[in-house]
Symmetry: C2
Subunit: 450 residues, 2 copies
């Protein structure tokens, strides 16, 4: 079978461009209206996407005065989206630093049941500056410490998800036996950060457990991804770093005894699509000019540990000396590094830097025709930069609809993308095996539908 | 306007009777199948019920080998139910002991948005014996300590829910102003158990905040309910204690400066309905005989702090000396007291006690004709025992359908129950005012739909 591209829709505000919400192609539904998320998922499902993805921040968005970022919580949203879709995967973000493992395990297992096997968990350690003060910490938990917690957390929740054998539920009214208690086990975890006795209080879910997604790109984050992740969302400004990242992660995964196919690399792509390249560039520039500098400045400051950039002139050229060392930054170190590499490469003014980050916050952006965009996707896919893409439309739903109407058919014609769903779970779309229970091994899954 | 009865459907397994799942009138859908919960909510909505309610336990159910109790997590379930219903209130249980306040506030605010104002929160302090070991505690948090935490927790989440003024979202693409930041406030909470800076990361929800429900009936629990609860679920074996409870809670609420109408008292009623009383009793007895003693014994043990009853003969008469003192029991003290009062009153054998608790675990049970059940409801409603009922069908969906087809029309004919929904939020069904923001006072709620 030919290798096939994977496409995930990353839903963010009214589109990934900071000024998306001011564009007439953006929805006018409030960001708290569930119909908006349901409609986007239905559009993406019609386009045969593998999955949709909701990010999360655990704190109010930067620059809320001038940017439309005030959405619903991911798990509740995805549960409501599950009931109006059939096939598309549903990936939600949740934090290993600020959630109880028993609560998270129950909610994702429930989502996997509710969606009949479509749940994915984007595992984050919560780097957002504003999160810690909402969870009792004055200062952010240290980078290394957060990953140490994350390892323990993964260990616990994977045990909880395996604590019922697939055949534990008997449910036989005649004999009066509901469950075979010998096929349900406590997990008896006692670690540095958590003690969890188990078992989970609901049966093993259709996928065994949610698909593990990871998006941290620091050295520690990469090692974590290589060990656990089944798909990786990653931000690259150009193909070169994407190729390096791809080789690094696949190599490290091999070091953990994993096959290259067990971990998909999905770089972000934010495509502004026009019938000519000039039209696409015009739309992109229009969006840049509709941004408000305060939004980008606040986000930039947060990316650099609260460093203040407001004394700099918007129209003077930047130098790396205007920035703190990325290694001193608590938070998403890799994102800070990406920003510095733009400064080194392009020597932009502050305004130009803010514009270039307004598109997709350090992810790859492209403005061009459907053919140009399909060419780029094919190139990255065929030359070791990507197994697929995290599709980040600058304006939603407009540029998702255009992507599906104009770009997807080209990819299909080239034999790169499915023309129908073959499976019905997220694992099946991603070509991943269903994991065995670490306690009970393989068993034919219990018949879960009446 | 005449005072009108309130009805809530309490969804529990395949019905409240422990042996419900063995009855042909019970659903055969797995308890992990969302369609089951959606169907029950739709039946209850057709029956014009105020609300549905999901309990929760944070640990595997007692006696899982012989009882069908392995449901989905409440918040995810209610989000999925919200999208297939329009009017009915959606009440979920969540713990103030084992949840982070910021997480809980976001999820309930999201549920309130997703359902257009139908969310209710059953506030529990997590008395279940098995919960603590799933959250790092070797021993259960003490009763008094749990309520102390609950007070602080309520204070925090109510502030988070009030942290956006109703008119904070401007969402004006032309001016580029998304939110009025002067209408969003941090909460700066620093207490004994939590520090939460705020604000919440999403706008104020349609009801302002979810309706507060409470079900603890100990002295501390009653005081807590009188102060905060807008509806109280309560268990009584007979009308007399229900009348005392009703007067006590309404009186205590007045002591907190609240009006009697701001707190609804909803005792549980588990009605086995037959076309004759004899037929109803026969059905009840059939269900009793289909129970497995191990289930009831394990639950009884847990109700009395792990006390072992298994050395007692099933068919010998019980005495109060077979039980520990309720005041020494950590957990739901009031439930232990209710059980002892049955022992004193009826002098049952252990088997008889287990049968009487198998029906609805200490809630009021009745087996009779639709007229007899309507008479009881009217009597309790009109003589100071209830503002409505927490309807606990012994077998689901069978005895819910019968209740709606046979009992509800009698209540309507007597002018006791609505014949159409008048409002569309849970607050409106319950006759409760929408709370003002403690920071921003009254404001016309922002227009939240496009």
């Amino acid at each position: 079978m030919a290798r096939s591209l994977h496409l995930n829709l990353f839903i963010h505000g009214r589109g990934h461009h900071e000024a998306s919400w001011r564009h007439p192609g953006a929805t006018r539904l409030p960001l708290t209206d569930i119909r908006y998320y349901q409609q986007l998922a239905q559009i993406a499902e019609k386009g045969l996407f593998d999955s949709i993805f909701l990010a999360d921040a655990l704190a109010i968005a930067d620059g809320i005065g001038h940017v439309a970022r005030s959405g619903l919580e991911p798990i509740t949203t995805l549960s409501a989206v599950a009931t109006v879709t059939d096939k598309i995967g549903l990936i939600g973000t949740a934090s290993t630093t600020y959630t109880e493992p028993y609560n998270l395990a129950r909610q994702f297992a429930s989502l996997d049941h509710i969606s009949n096997g479509r749940a994915g968990w984007n595992i984050v350690t919560s780097w957002v500056q504003g999160a810690a003060p909402n969870y009792g910490d004055d200062t952010q938990v240290e980078h290394a410490e957060r990953y140490e917690r994350a390892h323990e957390f993964l260990d616990i929740v994977s045990k909880l998800w395996d604590s019922w054998a697939d055949d534990a539920v008997i449910d036989d009214p005649d004999s009066g036996v509901f469950a075979d208690e010998s096929r349900i086990t406590p997990i008896r975890h006692r670690g540095k950060h958590h003690g969890v006795a188990g078992p989970l209080n609901l049966p093993r879910s259709p996928q065994g457990r949610p698909v593990y997604i990871q998006a941290g790109s620091s050295e520690t984050g990469r090692r974590f991804a290589a060990r656990y992740a089944e798909a990786v969302f990653t931000a690259h400004l150009e193909k070169k770093t994407a190729v390096d990242f791809y080789a690094d992660i696949k190599g490290q995964a091999a070091g953990f005894g994993r096959s290259r196919d067990e971990i998909l690399i999905l770089p972000g792509i934010s495509a502004t699509i026009g019938s000519t390249e000039a039209e696409a560039k015009r739309l992109e520039q229009e969006l840049h000019e509709a941004t408000h500098p305060s939004v980008g400045l606040q986000r930039l400051s947060n990316r650099f540990g609260g460093h203040d950039f407001s004394h700099l002139s918007l129209d003077a050229k930047l130098s790396v000396d205007d920035f703190p060392e990325p290694s001193t930054v608590q938070g998403a170190q890799s994102r800070a590094g990406v920003i510095l590499s733009i400064v080194k490469r392009d020597k932009p003014t502050l305004r130009q830097l803010l514009h270039s980050l307004a598109g997709a916050r350090g992810h790859f952006t492209i403005a061009g025709t459907p053919e140009q965009i399909a060419d780029t996707i094919e190139d990255w896919f065929k030359t070791g930069a990507a197994d697929g893409f995290n599709v980040m439309p600058p304006v939603l739903p407009l540029l998702l609809e255009t992507f599906i109407q104009e770009v997807v058919p080209i990819l299909q014609k080239r034999g790169l993308f499915r023309t129908a769903y073959e499976g019905s779970t997220l694992r099946e779309h991603y070509g991943l095996a269903r994991p065995e229970s670490q306690y009970f091994g393989t068993n034919p899954p219990a018949k879960l539908t009446a």
